[in-house]
Every structure is written in structure tokens, then in C-alpha cells.
């Protein structure tokens, strides 16, 4: 029944999906945290930048961002992100960049919702002890915000996992590119769809369950 799978590197394609997800997740967590810091910070210029960034980026389709990183950054401006002449590497990196640019806007907002759960008095008490803004954020507000934001961040991670399929538009050999190829060559359309759907569920379902457990475990009791 599944002999149509022979000759295709299904695991390899999903491995590429996992790699795209992991690199983009790490990158967007870092950049998204910085953006959130800017949005709640005391410097007006940074606040404006953070707000403008989030509102601009989250309203652009991901496809456009990924296409721009390929057509705009790479082909027009010659950005190769250290990939040399290897198109697969360049495209993979460009896709990760595009995913980070896009996902960090959502990470920022998830974190900001976490920050809003931290009572104002926590930051006031920290300031009253003589901690500076960076320390207040880093030691008091963000640790509590992250704990409250685990579940919204899980949603972002799940969305990111599925969004990696957009990387196919610039030819990154991840799961959905292979699926398109198989659909063209094989007759079992419904089965192919089911196999790939199952593959993604295998990635995202445990993510949701584990993050849910983590969220409960680290929750701050007030």
C-alpha cells in the first residue's frame, strides 16, 4: 500500500523541516525577546521601532518575506549569508532568516502578553532596590514573563513548524517540496497528503503537549 514511498527520502525531507524549525525558533526567540525589551523599554525611539517592526512584519504574508529574502537580498543585493556558491545552503539560510524576521514579531507579542501578567509592583520593588532597567527586565520581569508565556510561545512554535513549508517557494528541500514532487509523480494523492499531514502532526503534537506540561511546571504562583 505504501510502496509509492520507495525512492523518496521522506525522513531526509522532514529532517530539513526540523532543522529549519529549530534554527528559526532559536533566532526568533532571541530577536523577539530583544523586540519585546524595546517595546516595554524607556527609550521612545526603541519603543517606536519595536512597535513599527511588529506591526509591519506581522501584516506581510510570510511568502512575500521569504521571496524577498531570495529575490531581493540574494539575487539583487548579492547577500549569500556565508553560503559561498552552494545554492542549497544559501537558500536554506535565507529561509531561516525570513522565518526569523517573521516569527520574531509573534514571539515579541507572546512575550509582551507574558510581561503584562507581571504585576507592576514587581518592577517597582526591583527599582526600589536600586536595580537598573536592564536588571529589572532580566532578573525580575522577563523570567516571570517567559513562565507565563510558555503556552502562547508553544502556539508560535507550532505555527513556525508549519510555516517552514513556505521555504519551498525558494526551493529549500523540506517536507512540502518533496510532497509537491510526489504529487506530480505518483497517483496516490490522498495517501501522500495523509502521510505528510501525519508527519507534521508527529512534530507538532508532542511540542504542544510538552510545552503545556512545562507551562504548568514553571507557572509562577501568586
Amino acid at each position: 500500500m505504501f510502496d509509492f514511498l520507495e525512492g523518496y527520502d521522506l525522513l531526509g525531507a522532514f529532517w530539513a523541516t526540523v532543522q529549519l524549525t529549530v534554527y528559526s525558533a532559536i533566532g526568533s526567540l532571541i530577536w523577539g525577546t530583544l523586540l519585546a525589551g524595546m517595546r516595554v523599554g524607556p527609550v521612545p525611539l526603541m519603543r517606536t521601532f519595536g512597535t513599527a517592526y511588529v506591526n509591519f512584519v506581522r501584516n506581510i504574508p510570510l511568502t512575500v518575506i521569504i521571496l524577498f529574502s531570495s529575490l531581493g537580498l540574494n539575487q539583487t543585493l548579492g547577500v549569500k549569508l556565508g553560503g559561498g556558491e552552494d545554492f542549497d545552503t544559501i537558500n536554506f539560510r535565507l529561509a531561516v532568516l525570513g522565518l526569523i524576521v517573521y516569527t520574531s514579531a509573534f514571539v515579541c507579542e507572546a512575550l509582551r502578553s507574558g510581561i503584562n501578567t507581571v504585576p507592576l509592583g514587581q518592577a517597582e520593588a526591583a527599582r526600589a532596590l536600586g536595580l537598573n532597567f536592564g536588571q529589572v527586565l532580566q532578573l525580575i520581569v522577563l523570567p516571570q514573563a517567559f513562565r507565563a508565556a510558555v503556552n502562547p510561545l508553544a502556539n508560535v512554535l507550532i505555527a513556525l513548524t508549519k510555516n517552514t513549508t513556505v521555504a519551498a517557494v525558494i526551493g529549500v528541500a523540506e517536507a512540502s517540496l518533496l510532497m509537491n514532487e510526489m504529487i506530480e509523480n505518483e497517483a496516490q494523492l490522498v495517501l501522500i497528503g495523509a502521510v505528510f499531514a501525519f508527519g507534521f502532526v508527529c512534530l507538532t503534537l508532542p511540542t504542544g503537549v510538552l510545552m503545556g506540561l512545562l507551562g504548568k511546571k514553571v507557572a509562577v504562583k501568586r
Binding site: Q122, E124, A125, A128, G130, N132, Q144, K221
Partner: protein
């Protein structure tokens, strides 16, 4: 208005520690602090009382600049209150603050709450900070709770930890912003006792409170505020037995006769 300073038994070095001059502040159209002049001497315990909305909490919060002021000046130990940044942080480390809602760091243990400022602001060694924290926690009677989290403690215990957290910075002056208002009645005394001990030890204290018993027994001076102004300043005995202003008479008649 006469300045009344009652001499303490263990007299601290004299001198003005906190000086507010012509301080004004607005919240939108509301003039919450109007021409406030207030001087607190080293070692003095000043209790600020008044009806709610009179600006007493705001006054307390301006002293470490958790609230900014519109005009006037505030000096602490001879130095004007800095605007923002490092200088302000350094000054805040010298001014202990205890809040109505305790505000213990919810994700840190009791011990970590008391060591955090020492380690991160005073750059104290972690071991030394922990020893000092445990000693302070013992002093306020919550030494056994050191490894618990704030949510596991009663309100009275949390507030005593908050006092220990502020004391760990070895502040020059302690601000108390209605420290017992969020407590169940049976827990108020355990906090007041710690504060009374602190007053006896010669700490300079500014206490916003509704606890008239504490004002009588621990204060050197009572400051009565109403509608954003300081209406009356007097020694507690004089204020409670013989208030001069009608506003204070009215206030006292409402709170002392039931």
C-alpha cells in the same frame, strides 16, 4: 506650623536626611501634592496620616522617585534626587521601600528575595549575602521560611520578608507605604512590632499608615495631610489629644470614635 522634634533615648547623629521643598505634582487635572515642605531628621520616625486620596502615598513614592514631581526639590542626605539612570539607581539602593502589597519577587525564594539586591546592586559575595539574609530573616521572625516561595507565606510573613529585603541594603531611610493595609487584622501586629523595633534601633522612617496606635507609640512626629497639602505637623501626643486644624479634628473624630 512648628517643627516638633522629640529627642530619642538613643539619639542618632543629628542633621536633615530628607528635605522636600515646594514639591508639586499633578495627576492630570488633579493637584495631588501642593507646595509640600517637609524635613526629616536623621533617626526620626515620621508618620503620615490623612484621609484616602490626600496624597500621602504619592508623597512617600516621590521620595525615591517611583513618582516624578512637577516642581520643587527633594534632597536626600544633602544630595538632590537624580533624574534617571545610574545615579538614581544608586540613590534608591540607599532608600528602603516597603509596599502595601509586599511585592516580593514571586519567582524567587524568600532567601533569594533578600540576597538579590545585595548581590546585584551592592556586589556582595553570595555567601556573605546569604548569611546576612538569614540573620535578617531571623530578626523579623521568618528564618524558618527561607527556602519557600512568597505565595506559600501568610501576608504578615511576606511583609516581614519585604522589610528584611529592604534592610539588607542597609538603607539610610525606610519608606513604608501603608504596610499593614493589605493584611488580615490578626497579622497587623506582627508587622508593627518589627517596625517598632526598627524605630527603637534608630532607623529613619517615613510611614504612611492608618495605624494610630503605631503613630502614638513609635512616631516622633505626625504629619497630617488632606487634599494634597500638609495641614498639620505635631508630636503624636499633641496631635491626637489636641489637634489644631478643623480638618484634623474632623478626621480624628471619624476614626477614633468607633
Amino acid at each position: 506650623m512648628t517643627d516638633v522634634t522629640v529627642a530619642k533615648e538613643d539619639a542618632a547623629p543629628v542633621g536633615d536626611l530628607v528635605v522636600l521643598k515646594d514639591v508639586n505634582k499633578h495627576f492630570g487635572a488633579l493637584h495631588v501634592l501642593q507646595d509640600i515642605d517637609l524635613t526629616i531628621a536623621r533617626g526620626e520616625v515620621v508618620v503620615v496620616i490623612g484621609p484616602s486620596g490626600s496624597g500621602k502615598s504619592t508623597l512617600c513614592r516621590t521620595i525615591n522617585r517611583l513618582e516624578t514631581i512637577d516642581s520643587g526639590s527633594i534632597t536626600i542626605d544633602g544630595k538632590p534626587l537624580p533624574d534617571e539612570g545610574k545615579e538614581l539607581a544608586r540613590l534608591r539602593a540607599d532608600v528602603g521601600m516597603v509596599f502595601q502589597s509586599f511585592n516580593l519577587f514571586a519567582h524567587k525564594t524568600i532567601l533569594e528575595n533578600v540576597t538579590l539586591g545585595q548581590v546585584k546592586v551592592r556586589k556582595a559575595d553570595k555567601k556573605v549575602a546569604e548569611e546576612k539574609a538569614r540573620a535578617l530573616l531571623d530578626r523579623v521572625g521568618v528564618g524558618a521560611q527561607a527556602d519557600k516561595y512568597p505565595a506559600q507565606l501568610s501576608g504578615g510573613q511576606q511583609q516581614r520578608v519585604a522589610i528584611a529585603r529592604a534592610l539588607a541594603m542597609e538603607p539610610k531611610v525606610m519608606l513604608f507605604d501603608e504596610p499593614t493595609s493589605a493584611l488580615d487584622p490578626e497579622m497587623i501586629n506582627e508587622v508593627l512590632e518589627v517596625m517598632q523595633q526598627l524605630a527603637r534601633d534608630g532607623m529613619t522612617m517615613i510611614v504612611v499608615t492608618h495605624e494610630m496606635g503605631f503613630a502614638r507609640s513609635a512616631a516622633n512626629r505626625v504629619v497630617f495631610m488632606a487634599d494634597g497639602r500638609i495641614v498639620e505637623e505635631a508630636a503624636p501626643e499633641q496631635f491626637f489629644s489636641n489637634p489644631r486644624s478643623d480638618r484634623a479634628k474632623d478626621f480624628l473624630s471619624k476614626i477614633l470614635h468607633h
